[in-house]
Subunit: 327 residues, 4 copies
Amino acid sequence: MDGCPPGLDLSPVDIQGELDRRRPGVGPGASPRKEEDRVEILSGVFEGKTTGIPISLLIPNRDPKSSDYDRLRDVFRPGHGDFTYQKKYGLRDHRGGGRASARETAARVAAGAIARKVIGEAGVEVFGYTLELGGIRAERFRREDIRMNALLCPDSRAAERMAERLEAIRAEGDSLGGVVEVRATGCPAGLGEPVFDKMDADLAKALMSIGSVKGVEIGAGFQIARMKGSESNDPLTPEGFRSNHAGGILAGITNGEEIVIRAACKPISSIGKEQETIDTHGNPRRISVGGRHDVCVIPRIIPVCEAMVCMVLADHLLRQDGVRRKA
Amino acid sequence: MDGCPPGLDLSPVDIQGELDRRRPGVGPGASPRKEEDRVEILSGVFEGKTTGIPISLLIPNRDPKSSDYDRLRDVFRPGHGDFTYQKKYGLRDHRGGGRASARETAARVAAGAIARKVIGEAGVEVFGYTLELGGIRAERFRREDIRMNALLCPDSRAAERMAERLEAIRAEGDSLGGVVEVRATGCPAGLGEPVFDKMDADLAKALMSIGSVKGVEIGAGFQIARMKGSESNDPLTPEGFRSNHAGGILAGITNGEEIVIRAACKPISSIGKEQETIDTHGNPRRISVGGRHDVCVIPRIIPVCEAMVCMVLADHLLRQDGVRRKA
Amino acid sequence: MDGCPPGLDLSPVDIQGELDRRRPGVGPGASPRKEEDRVEILSGVFEGKTTGIPISLLIPNRDPKSSDYDRLRDVFRPGHGDFTYQKKYGLRDHRGGGRASARETAARVAAGAIARKVIGEAGVEVFGYTLELGGIRAERFRREDIRMNALLCPDSRAAERMAERLEAIRAEGDSLGGVVEVRATGCPAGLGEPVFDKMDADLAKALMSIGSVKGVEIGAGFQIARMKGSESNDPLTPEGFRSNHAGGILAGITNGEEIVIRAACKPISSIGKEQETIDTHGNPRRISVGGRHDVCVIPRIIPVCEAMVCMVLADHLLRQDGVRRKA
Amino acid sequence: MDGCPPGLDLSPVDIQGELDRRRPGVGPGASPRKEEDRVEILSGVFEGKTTGIPISLLIPNRDPKSSDYDRLRDVFRPGHGDFTYQKKYGLRDHRGGGRASARETAARVAAGAIARKVIGEAGVEVFGYTLELGGIRAERFRREDIRMNALLCPDSRAAERMAERLEAIRAEGDSLGGVVEVRATGCPAGLGEPVFDKMDADLAKALMSIGSVKGVEIGAGFQIARMKGSESNDPLTPEGFRSNHAGGILAGITNGEEIVIRAACKPISSIGKEQETIDTHGNPRRISVGGRHDVCVIPRIIPVCEAMVCMVLADHLLRQDGVRRKA
């Protein structure tokens, strides 16, 4: 991580807290793997404060169990990057997927924890939650509910039905997808560059770079395509905007309202159900990718989405505010 | 434009053809303005061939009519970047919006025309069309229909209803949004970088950087969040993938299938209907932004979306294939 | 030019003044060509002030005389990029050299004029001069002398001998090189990034990217390699550094002293004297590149060197100080 | 390290060999510290071959002895980055210098070892040597001599005098500088970009980013400023260039000749002799930075210079040749 301002309090605990939220084994969709992500700060922090130089973190993988993957050596798992990595590179590391692995997101969460500190200095808070899972949608928003159910859903009753759906799908040996919503409050107006690095463009890239995400929308998103201009425009009043269909971003620049962004997550590709595929020689094969996998990326993906949003906001805040100078 | 391989045939006509598709005054949603975008190639082309050095293009604005905008000097148009530019920069060019102007997309289309040539050399074709407009969705896909209606809709019957809807909304002094779909065929497997510059992340950023776009999805997009893993995974067979929910991209890398991507476009913000807003002093105002505006960005935005996709694909093709060396 | 802060006074005159210094036809080493570089500001300035969006400038070439170059179509001029461009791209624009042309430096000077405004706001001043020409070195430094001789030499007596040397070499149909020194005063301590974008590394890249420059040194430069540590270290005192062998940069970061940097410029490659070369088919040829060429890049290259230094300093100042926010 | 092509043989031994050349305790200028840089490959290599994904290396510092540095906590060592880091960040890690530490170069050497493999595939070889040390210059070039003396000097007789000079200066508690020359053979013509990323500009930045380097020159370098054009131009013949004053680079692009580049290295700043300085409160102090320091960065800096050249060449080769695709 380069560009972190100096003089910020930072300890491994700050990062570990976020990593623990990403860890499996929590919540209804969890896998029985025991990844214990223990972060070490290798550089950039001195006597509990950032020094302004690049920060290096190391999160050793203490539970690789590569042997689990040996039978996958010459077969392409449907929905995974196995096929495209083989096509791109001519070879691949079949164990747990290398950079295509969900473990790669641990690094994002760790970096996001530092970014969260940076934006926190500017009064910006980022939080995410489950908006939809397996076709069940949160019907109301109670912020206090988010911490009260394992699925981090702002509608605890919907969360119960989601949990039941997850249990049923696990029994089927199948998996589910969902939609994560992330909000950023306290963000000042004026962040984002006019042409190449619009705030919404950077947020979209950041979320879409997460392996499971296949769609991103800001504010009213796809729904805005069905509105009239007189409905979609957010009227300005002396007290602020009367609505927030823009999701806090106008012409690529923050307008001071809450930033609201959603990511559509596909079902986990590794499922126990037998699927049709081919091997590296092009022969048809049947495969069941059972084992230690989650049945839904939600809620574990939520801190990853939050981390990406934190990083984009930190980057734009540092550009705009010269936080470094003042630190 | 930097990075264009040398030895490619390129004339202003190649670019002009694309620019003309973006021009207003064509189709039911068009404005009566007479922008005549005439492109000049300033550098990078010699005797009809690209030389490998950066290409500079100039598209003078022959129809600015800045006076039309004088009454907007101290008032923020709802849905526009007026407010955020003022907040970011402390001053703004109120005429036609500067970089926030839709005219800025002419540069994108011009650059995209060159990118289209680059990817054409590799056998890649990109085309876009209207999937949805004002809540009316194309119900079937006939590629030949696209050229047969002014709205570039692959379902000519739906296009008729869309056109009627546009006329009605114009009479109301209001505007409409819609959804554009872009496909890329012939794209080789293996394009896209594993972590930072995933193909889908770059495509999402490119489309979201267009002013009107509030959502982007790849393949099954938001719909995939409602599927099971056994449904969403695209089975591999010796003949290829059996479905294309992935939209041609797995783990950020192309898989050789058609790339399918959609952009949700908001209604045009400038409407004749009176709207609530404030002026630069914070006083409440009523505003009607009538004049020479389109009532929908579709179909004019389609060549812009295509251009962005062409640019991203050209960038990744050049990285991957060393086209430059061979040219 | 992206990243210029908003609210800065900027008119074409500001830029034109710098361009005129680069123009040929001034001073003893000048060519009789009549390039009249007239700059136009295409975007980014509104009512005399920068708006914060990218600034586009256009400098049309009003004196191309491409026909002069027709006889060079299939022969490689020694010392020019003809050979390497042909090798790289497989074709080349033989007229005036495309990007390899000295005219490309006009764009640098124009952009540098804007950067000079940016750093001026922070109290930084950049000026360059002729330290050495044709082996004759300035023996004393009188800043007031710089404006008093056409070669911009801080030692007017040395300038006289340099001018004589230039006249003699012109009569021979040959050319000369020299050394330019650039200083930046008023630069605050703390500019430069610790690893990848050290101030001295960025300055070296910027100057070395000028076509004629074959060497760059900071402070004591190559001479420091012959010192002892007890001589080369600049002692710190409560009043500041006692010497400036570091040239204002320690560990890649400015220390508040004057930045001093030198660029070694090769003799102009186009000479009237007959030279040995080959044509594009590999056959031996004799060539005399007479015509309208200067016999030394000095003093015309001085504003180009200054411009590069201004741009690097502006870039680092904007990173560090968040000037944008305050404007 | 991102961008390494897949399928390259790579083992820790390849990297360790280069690291060992950088290690102290070898040669006349060496310090008695026992840094044992042991590299571990964390990712990007599978079964002895690179996979195409980013490669992470870790080199733990097994000999920090931070306590040695405690007395330096509040005093600025002359010639070091202590003062500028304090000015930039408002705080600093006084132990061994953080990013300003010479240890940071271990990472460069490790990355360079991988780059050396990449360019080796293309037939490019990079080697460096001591051209000058303490004012003593190699008077002849015998490549076989380089391996025959601890100072890696191509003139073994000069090397003897250099070694004597080093011993004398060590006795004085002082230090020396010198000049390193690096050559690259087998480099194809056509590498380097025409405007922004010229080969010589990138090489200059790379070498100048090494802490001790205060000057960089290509080919004839500063000497070319004293030549006439008829002398400095390298004549082309059907058999190749007749001379190499250009140092293998014309107009920013390689011409197929040997690349020759020199770096001026300052004397080591940490010396036993007492020096004048100030503390962090601005009070005058006397300081002797004795201890475990080398008295010259040569020869240890040679593999660092080589590594930087390897990285720049690898970067340009990969851009140009699409090596990735073919691997």
